[in-house]
Symmetry: C2
Subunit: 668 residues, 2 copies
């Protein structure tokens, strides 16, 4: 089975590259920033636009609230950054929010955070790719009209690349992230210079449109609700901020300090970009509407472009290279952000598997097969979402933010407890003061993120957040069930252990399964004899009288010292007669251990599996249900098996764990 | 994997019943007739109608050819019956056409016949079920308007019953077959009595319709072609005639004579029913048309009923019980005919597997899993055909007849050769005369079936026969490839054998794989020690430093005499480090045999498989590629495994192999 899936994978994604040139490479801040910040920074490509889109429902007059909503988002962002600076100092092991919640609030809280994070990985892929396609679509209309198709294609390609094992290096992350920073910052700087210093007019293509309210002017509570919704959507800018807290071990020493500094730098850059884009949007008069029908004066067949694209085209009017550069790097960083989900999943999966919430093999990171299943699952869910929501960022974002703020809130709550515990044993007043300060920051963070979570729940629940919450609940239930199973097995073993020591088998009774007298059988016989069992016999199942007679004659001719027993099978079946025989042997000699030697062909092609060993495999599966029976496979390698060898494996996300291809080695 | 599919199957088809009350039961002629003849007899439910349908293209005047076409079909039928009477005498082993062709004409001819038969099984299911639904639809209009859906449903149910293991007995076949014979014969007798003796008028519901020619009156060659097409379709009556030749061993002694007599009886009954229905169709004035638009005067929304239903309703006018009886038994025998395909497949599959044209496990009949795959495949293809052709018998029949006549023709050719060989060594003039007579019959049969095959190919190729031929070619290619693979393996073993005897291993080097120090590990250690290897060591892969350290400490505390080696794995992988270690052991001691003991959990639920043993399984798969390495699974049965036991299995088609539930035993 494993060979079959390998073959299929080979077909899909080509040969994986070898990993023996990997080396531990700790990241300097200038590389760590792009590695961990691409997700958070990419959010500014859609967060400000979403604020305007939400406000658009109330018509153009509501746009005046946009900068104020932006300011509140900035405040939350800076609060969260400040809070996570405490996290990375307190938990430098890279366990992130899951660890903080588990240690301080218990397993259930930890599992809630884990469920939220897993759902977020799916949404990061869906939202980022949808946003990337919207941006490309703003430059290439054909993509805009086939957004969902292109988004699915992009996700399939991304999945294939990640299955193949991406050859990560610092540069993979640094180039697009710095290019994006240069592009957006350059645009903001140039735009502000043109608009405020040169006082030039930079009308966006939608500057002359009128924007009508959807249901007339909103007043009072309705307006407040709308502004809160806009704020919730704007908080999408915060997604990805927690990434650094999972990556502290990959930083150069002093790890925590460097991580905290990088976090601050990232927050600062993100805030500048966010506010810069909001200001530019107002300077250029961009109009975006949730419902295109609200845009009056728009030409026939007008397709809304993304805000970033409209700003770029306005700021760089007469200089199309600038527009193309911004559009391309925006799409690029969004794809990179989607990729972080593929990077983050193996790390979280490994931790959850260690705590026995996921199948154990996910813990051994080299087990690429298991992670491949995870990656395919991740991509499949993201594709379903993108198709279901037609790659509309605005609709996908309704699902996105709830998971992020669940884990923020849990994490901050955990941190407050953490400081309480620390304070209980700490007596040094200086140290205590520092802890109090940290705790205050985390408490402020909790108040802030908790409030946002409530706002998000109220404003987004019916528009899609319920889907994310249902998915979280399902994951929570599944992981609990897995953990319960493992616990039950452990309890069972403990109980068995208390029943007394394992009886040493008194004798070994070996049985060689014979169907023909060919080389694989002879080898099995020779090996079985070499183990010097107390009893050694060969058995064959009489499926065909003639064949069996021939076998017996030949057996006698060869003068084997091993007796051949013929087991009758009136209905030409193999499994049951052998099982019955083995059971009888066990009953007659309860303290003996029975070893059944089964000759097995080893083949090189997956389809050959169907032509060999099928009966043996099933028999083996059944024999294992008998206590006191061991099954020994004696392989016979067919020529076709020679071409198969074990691949060195490499999983995505190496760089953010401080592992990278050793370029030194590479050059040799 | 096997456990998973078992679970799925249990869900679908319930628990199989136990087979230990099966006994060899040879069939008397009165039971053998219904067991083997249902397929052939059921054909008369649609064959005469197809003759009229084909002729309808040329308008009502062409109907006058129907009895003559019927007579020619009867002549072919009787010829084929006479020929097969020679077959069953010469080949009483039940190998049927495949055996006759293989023995006399070589493997390629045999394989051609086998391909034709396999395709025919699929078409028997599709055509019979479609015809059954047409007949039910003639009584229940709702079924007529949803024919394809009901046909699919019926096939799914039939498949489920066959997967579950059908509890066959003579009565299963006798009741519907004799009921059908009584129904049709009774209808013919009563109809002829009313029409010819009492001279009553029995107008069918379509008697007053006019039937217009599709493209005007046909003349000359076009008419000849049309009549030939009608004849080809009428030859559908011959499908199933060969069934008895596969079942000779199930007859009571003298087997061949009884089989030949039954064959004759079957032919006689089929011929009477065929001609009787054609005569009744003309007496009652039934009109059926390929294109309903040809029927003039038909009321608005008229749905054509089957010919049998129309005749029954005309003959039994004023006596609806008669109509219902005929319709029900007709549908019943058609379903029974479809079931013969499920019965025939395991028999043919077993023979082909013995000749290594199909995976070997199909040979051991008890291997129900393999046959289940076959049954599902059979049903899947039949469902595809029924859906593709919208359950239209007329369209499906275009594919059907070519396979039947390919195997008829091949078989008769083989028989001529057979007699030539016999004649070459026979000197007794009486015996020689008898042989010459048999040969003459087979030669006449060949001429007849060969001519029909050519007619069928010419008249049906473009209307669908090409699909059947393409399918036969594909099956032929697949089976050839499988055989070539097995031959290559045999050649490889012969070559290896000629390279000299197997070196006896000088020593056994045993390695126990340890991940934790729990009971499964202890048992593996105890068992490994009991095999008294020359070297015994335990190894563990260091996936997690802390865990490993704990393990080593505990190991030392326990005072095992077996040393524990820790293998480093920088990327937390298991397979490769272990493989490398084993390779090193093998390189250092090339004449040693390495036995790797892997503790394995045995679980009861399929999903538990995903939570255990995954790494061990993959490792095992890889270890087997190393020469000189045995892998021993030491099972640890978890409590959940206790509920699993091996089912006694029963495959469809037992009765026709002379096996049936022992009713004596049953009563106790």
């Amino acid at each position: 089975m494993s060979k079959f899936s390998t073959a299929v994978k080979r077909l899909l994604v080509g040969r994986p590259f070898r990993s023996d040139r990997l080396a531990h490479t700790l990241l300097p801040k200038r590389i760590a920033l792009p590695v961990f910040a691409s997700d958070a920074m990419s959010s500014v490509a859609y967060a400000p636009e979403e604020i305007f889109l939400m406000l658009s429902v109330a018509g153009l007059s509501a746009y005046t609230f946009a900068p104020w909503v932006g300011v509140v988002v900035v405040v939350v962002m800076l609060t969260v950054v400040a809070s996570y600076r405490q996290n990375v100092r307190a938990y430098p092991s890279g366990g992130g929010d899951y660890e903080v919640a588990t240690v301080n609030l218990g397993r259930k809280a930890g599992l809630t955070v884990a469920s939220a994070l897993l759902v977020d990985y799916v949404l990061t892929v869906a939202v980022s790719i949808a946003a990337a396609m919207s941006n490309i679509g703003s430059a290439v209309p054909y993509v805009a009209t086939h957004k969902a198709e292109f988004a699915v294609l992009a996700m399939v390609v991304l999945t294939a690349i990640n299955l193949r094992g991406i050859r990560e290096s610092g540069a993979t992350f640094a180039v697009p992230t710095y290019a994006f920073m240069i592009g957006i910052m350059g645009m903001i700087g140039y735009g502000l210079f043109r608009g405020l210093v040169l006082d030039q007019d930079m009308p966006a293509e939608s500057a002359n449109f009128e924007l009508h309210a959807e249901h007339g002017e909103l007043m009072g509570l309705a307006l407040v609700f709308l502004i809160l919704r806009a704020f919730s959507s704007g908080c999408a800018a915060l997604t990805g901020v927690e990434a650094i807290s999972n990556g502290v071990p990959a930083f150069r020493k002093p790890k925590s300090k460097n991580a905290a500094t990088t976090l601050l730098l990232m927050g600062f850059i993100a805030v500048v970009m966010l506010m810069g884009l909001i200001v530019l949007a107002q300077l250029t008069g961009v109009k975006v509407a949730e419902d295109p029908a609200q845009l009056v004066n728009a030409p026939e067949g007008y397709e809304q472009k993304t805000m970033v694209a409209q700003i770029a085209s306005a700021v760089f009017s007469g200089f199309p290279t600038g527009f193309w550069f911004v559009t391309i790097v925006t799409a690029l960083i969004l794809v990179l952000a989607a990729n972080t989900a593929f990077n983050g999943f193996p790390v979280l999966g490994s931790i959850l598997a260690q705590d026995r919430y996921l199948p154990r093999q996910l813990h051994t990171r080299g087990d690429r097969l298991a992670f491949s299943n995870g990656i395919i699952g991740l991509a499949a869910f993201a594709i379903i979402l993108v198709v279901a929501f037609d790659a509309e960022v605005t609709r996908l974002i309704q699902l996105y933010i709830v998971g992020v703020f669940v884990s923020f809130t849990m994490s901050q709550t955990g941190m407050i407890r953490h400081w309480n515990r620390k304070l209980a044993s700490e007596t040094d007043p200086v140290e205590r003061r520092r802890m109090r300060r940290s705790q205050a920051i985390n408490a402020f963070g909790l108040a802030m993120t908790g409030a946002v979570l409530i706002v998000v729940l109220i404003t987004k629940f019916l528009s899609g957040a319920w889907i994310a919450i249902a998915a979280m609940a399902a994951l929570y239930a599944m992981m609990t069930a897995i953990r319960r199973h493992y616990d039950r097995v452990t309890a069972e073993l403990v109980k068995a252990e208390s029943a007394g020591p394992i009886l040493l088998p008194s004798r070994i009774h070996s049985i060689v399964l014979v169907s023909k007298l060919h080389l694989p059988t002879r080898r099995a016989l020779a090996y079985a004899r070499a183990t010097r069992p107390d009893v050694l016999e060969a058995i064959t199942v009489n499926v065909d009288d003639l064949d069996t007679k021939r076998l017996v004659v030949e057996w006698d001719k060869q003068n084997f010292t091993v007796p051949l027993k013929v087991i009758e099978s009136p209905y030409r079946e193999i499994t049951k007669p052998v099982l019955d025989y083995v059971k009888r042997v066990r009953t007659d000699n309860p303290r003996d251990v029975v070893t059944v030697f089964i000759p097995e062909y080893v083949v090189g092609h997956w389809w050959e599996q169907f032509l060999h060993n099928q009966s043996a495999l099933r028999l083996k599966g059944r024999l294992l249900f008998q206590s006191g029976v061991m099954v020994t496979s004696v392989p016979w390698q067919l020529a076709s098996s020679a071409g198969v060898h074990v691949d060195d494996v490499v999983a995505p996300g190496l760089v953010r764990r401080g592992l990278a291809v050793d370029e030194e080695e590479e050059r040799r």
